[in-house]
Structures are given as C-alpha cells and as structure tokens.
Point group: C2
Chain length 310, copies 2
C-alpha cells in the first residue's frame, strides 16, 4: 500500500494553484489548475485547497489515492512544523497551514516554500541530479534561491537561506518590494524587466506595446525591437554579476537558473555566463556549470510531490 499509489502534490501559488497526482518518476498523471483567491485568509485557503483536491481525486478509486500530500507555499516556511512563516502578499504570519489542511483532507500534509521545492525537483528530475553542491536561482515575479550543500538542501538557522534576490547590485537603484533599492529582484524579476523596458521606451518615437509584462519584452526582442534586446542584455549582465558573487562565495559545481522568466531568458545564458566569468575570482580554476532548469514550469509541482514521499 502506498508504494505504488501516486504522490499528491499541491502548488499553492500567489496567483495560480495547481493540484496533481504525480508518479515516482516525476510524471504528472492528472492535474487541475485554478486561480488562487485574492488575499485569502487561512480558512479560505484551506477551503480552496480542499475543494481543489476533492475535484482532483473525485473519480479516483479510494485504493489508488495518495496517502500523503505535499504542499508548496509562496513564502518562507518552517517545513518541519508545517507552518507558513510569512506570505507577504496575503499578510500571513505563522499560519499552521499543514495541520489545518491535513484536518480538512484527512491526510498527512508536508509543506515547504516553493523555491525549496523547485530545488528538490531539480535534484531528482532535472539537471542537478547527482550534483552534491549547487545553487538554484529562481526568476519569476520575485527572485529567490536555494542552496544544496553536500547533497542536502541547506535550510539555514531559521529556514531562511537562499534569499539571493535582495543582494543590492545598484545602490540607489530602483525600489524593491523589500523596502530597499537596487536589489537583484528589482533589476531582473518579471515586473522589473517590464519596468526597464517601459523606461527604455519613455520619450522615444515608438511607444512600447500597451500593458507590457515581461513576456511582452521578450516578444518585442524577438520581433527585432533593439530597445527590448538592450534591456534583456542588461538583465543578463546584472544576473551574471549576481551569479558571480554566489559562485565566489560557494564555489558550487552548478548554478541552475529556473522560474518563469528563465523559460524566456534562456537564449541569454551565454551572456549571463560571460558577465559571471568576468566577475569570478580565479575563473579559470573553477568548474562552474551554469544551466537552465531541466524541470521548467512544473518544478514547484514536482517538488510538492517529492515532499509527499515517505
């Protein structure tokens, strides 16, 4: 029992929620994708996730249902205690979501923050398989990271390791959600890319496409817009500088670049590498591999499934 049952996975994101059954090889057997309610209370979150789960498993025979559920959350978490320490956009602090959802589902729930879960998925199913020392950097709406040291995820003393997004790269630069200025996140996240492009277009003859998000900037660059290409070159340089610092400090075997922004930014990998090597100490002695995520968009969901393992 349980050995052949699929793993239950819930990726509870800031804007989207995915629930899925996943097999031990990382194949998604079935999935549902829903909008996350705006600014849910913990009670609303439990009800939302409970209904999504019930819809997923409604026509699965009881014997074939998961015996445990893994859950990713969009903020720092105490994985051992099943507590969401913070969900910034929701105003949450120290919510015991693991226990609350377990009661609702009648199943054990193990949770961790989404970035750590993505990193676990990369270790099992992606380009970091078998790598003992690596760093996972995630570029999406925010910029986060996770560190694997000696084959183990390094949680940090307070479970808060991996915050690479708030390295200040540009003193007095653009404001960041954290309250400082010029953080990596304020320079290379999806919203930052959109902002840089809008600034590059301001006052120009051709205005940027309306309602531009980062995807719009990538489309513009592909269509030959030199301002968009210049913005993305700058993003690659900034990201390379951040990679260099992480590499100087940790000398990892591998740095994996994941998250939604990287799914579009990957043609800039050689430029990111050049910018990193320029700033790395003893670059010729280091064996740094810099690679795009091998698990891509499903990273968090696969990571959630791994949390559900025995």
């Amino acid at each position: 029992v349980g050995g052949t049952a699929p793993l239950g996975a819930i990726d509870f994101g800031g804007t989207k929620t995915a629930v899925a059954l996943v097999d031990a090889q990382g194949r998604v057997l079935r999935r549902l994708r829903l909008d996350t309610p705006a600014r849910p209370t913990p009670e609303q979150a439990v009800e939302h996730l409970g209904r999504a789960w019930e819809a997923l498993v409604a026509d699965v025979p009881a014997a074939d249902r998961p015996v445990r559920v893994g859950l990713t959350v969009p903020g720092p978490a105490d994985a051992g205690a099943g507590i969401v320490r913070r969900a910034f956009d929701w105003g949450w602090r120290d919510v015991p979501l693991g226990a609350l959802l377990a009661r609702r589902l009648g199943l054990p729930v193990r949770l961790d923050n989404d970035v750590n879960a993505c990193c676990l998925a990369e270790m099992r199913f992606g380009v970091a398989a078998g790598v003992r020392d690596f760093v996972w950097l995630q570029l999406s709406t925010g910029v986060g990271g996770a560190i694997v040291c000696g084959g183990q995820l390094h949680p940090g003393a307070a479970g808060l390791a991996g915050e690479v997004g708030h390295m200040v790269l540009e003193e007095g630069g653009p404001p960041c959600a954290c309250g400082h200025r010029g953080c990596l996140e304020a320079l290379v996240s999806g919203p930052a890319i959109a902002r840089r492009y809008a600034e590059a277009c301001a006052g120009g003859a051709t205005p940027p496409p309306a309602g531009g998000d980062a995807q719009g900037v990538f489309r513009a660059a592909q269509a030959g817009d030199t301002r968009a290409a210049a913005v993305l070159d700058g993003v690659a340089r900034d990201l390379g500088r951040a990679v260099a610092f992480v590499a100087n400090l940790l000398d990892p075997e591998l740095v994996v670049l994941g998250g939604g922004v990287m799914e579009s930014l990957h043609p800039w990998l050689p430029a990111i590498r050049r910018a990193a090597l320029e700033r790395m100490l003893e670059a010729d002695h280091r064996r740094l591999r810099l690679e795009r995520s091998g698990v891509g968009y499903d990273a968090a969901l696969l990571g959630a499934a791994l949390l559900a393992e025995g």
Copy 2:
C-alpha cells in the same frame, strides 16, 4: 607515541612566518616568528621553512617532537593534494609545497590556505565551537572567508569557496587587487582603511600622520580624530552590508569576524550589526549571532596545528 606529542604548526604568511608546537587544547608550547623572505621561490620557501622548523625543535628530545606538521599558506590550496594553487604576491601557481617540505623535514605535512585554517581553529577553540552552520570572515591585508555547513568546512567544487572579499559593493569604486572596482576588500581591508583615511584628510587643514597604515587610523580615532572615526563608521557600514548579503544567502547561526583588522575594529561591532540588520530580509526571524573571533591573532597558527592532527 604521537598521542601525547605536540602538534607541529607552521603559519607561512605573506610577510611573517610563525612556527610552533601546540598542544591538543590549543596552547602554544613554544614558538618562533620570522620575516618571510620577499617573493620566495618554492625552493627558497622550503629552505626558509626547514630552517625555522629546525631552530624550533633543536633542543626538543626526538621522542617529544611532532610526528606531523600542519602548514597554512597565503592563497588558494588543494588541501588533499598538498598543492598551493596560487600565491598571488609570489607569482606561484600549482606548487606541491606539501611534498617538498615533507621531504625537507622528513615528516608528513598537511597544508591548507590560511583562511580555512583560521576557520577550523575558530570551530575548535573559539566562538564557533559546537556551531554547525557559520561563516568566518577575515579582515586583514585582504578580505577572505570560509563557510561551515553541517559542521564541515565547505571547500567548494574547486576548493575556492568563501571568497567574500570580491563582492562588489560600490560600482566604479576604488580599484581592487583582483582587477575590479569597489570590491568589499577594496573598502574594508587594512590598506583600504588607510587609503580612505588619507582621502578623508586630503585638502584638510591637518594632514594625516605620515606613513599611515590601518593601525594609525585606529589610533587617530581613539585620540579623537573625527575624520578617522567617520572613516571607520563607513567601514563598519560597508562590512555590515556584506554581512547582510551573506546572511540573506546562507542564514547562518553565526558570523565570526576575525583577522588583524578586526582585532582593532571590534568596538564597531554594534555598528556593523545595525548596518547588517538594516539590509537583512526577515531580520526579526533570524537568529544571527555576529561575533568577534575568539582565537584572534593566533587563529592561523592554531589552525595549522589542527591540520597536523591524525
């Protein structure tokens, strides 16, 4: 035999060499301190270290002499192979100093770079005893560091982890020995402190004391020189910003500040802490301890002794 013999320790520094016998409790039983020859070749280095060692043990009965020697070197090293990868000031590259000195002494020699050795000494005899995850930062002529993860020194994929000194804190800032500008080392090392003070005094009514080194700046601050105090406040702020980034990334239990500059800068620890907390994410959740080294000036020598352990 060997169980009660003292440990042999050689701290082969850029300007000074120390050789010592150390007991298992970290007490220095006897020591000699010499100038390191200017820009030694490997052969000159072996002869220099061999003579220093012979002078140290000359009147020690053969039965009471160490059975193994630990050696620290001022640059990146491959500890396993006993090779000095680089000694920048000497123009060395890939020198098998461990084997060369072992042949000269007729004893096994284990080497590592001085920063790693200091970190080992801090773990055994200093404020990091019993701490599983911490970062050692060393401020002296250069700025280096070492990372302990899960109770083990984290060497990195190429043995080059811990290079915290070349985080760029000030784009276009003062030139650094590494070829870039505005690195932490170019802002808070001993020579950087002297340079900042000279700049602060340039054009002023009172010139700075001649031939000023960092110690002169500390003396001036103690004597009430407000320019010196302002420079050291700035150094503390820059160091705090670097501590914040390391803490955001690794979430260590402890950051230890060591090296010769810290032996004078320690009254600025509260200022360093304030600057770090200002830049740390979720500072209220983190349990960061920030402490001055407990092994002080003897860190490298005690670390060398630990390399000589069985």
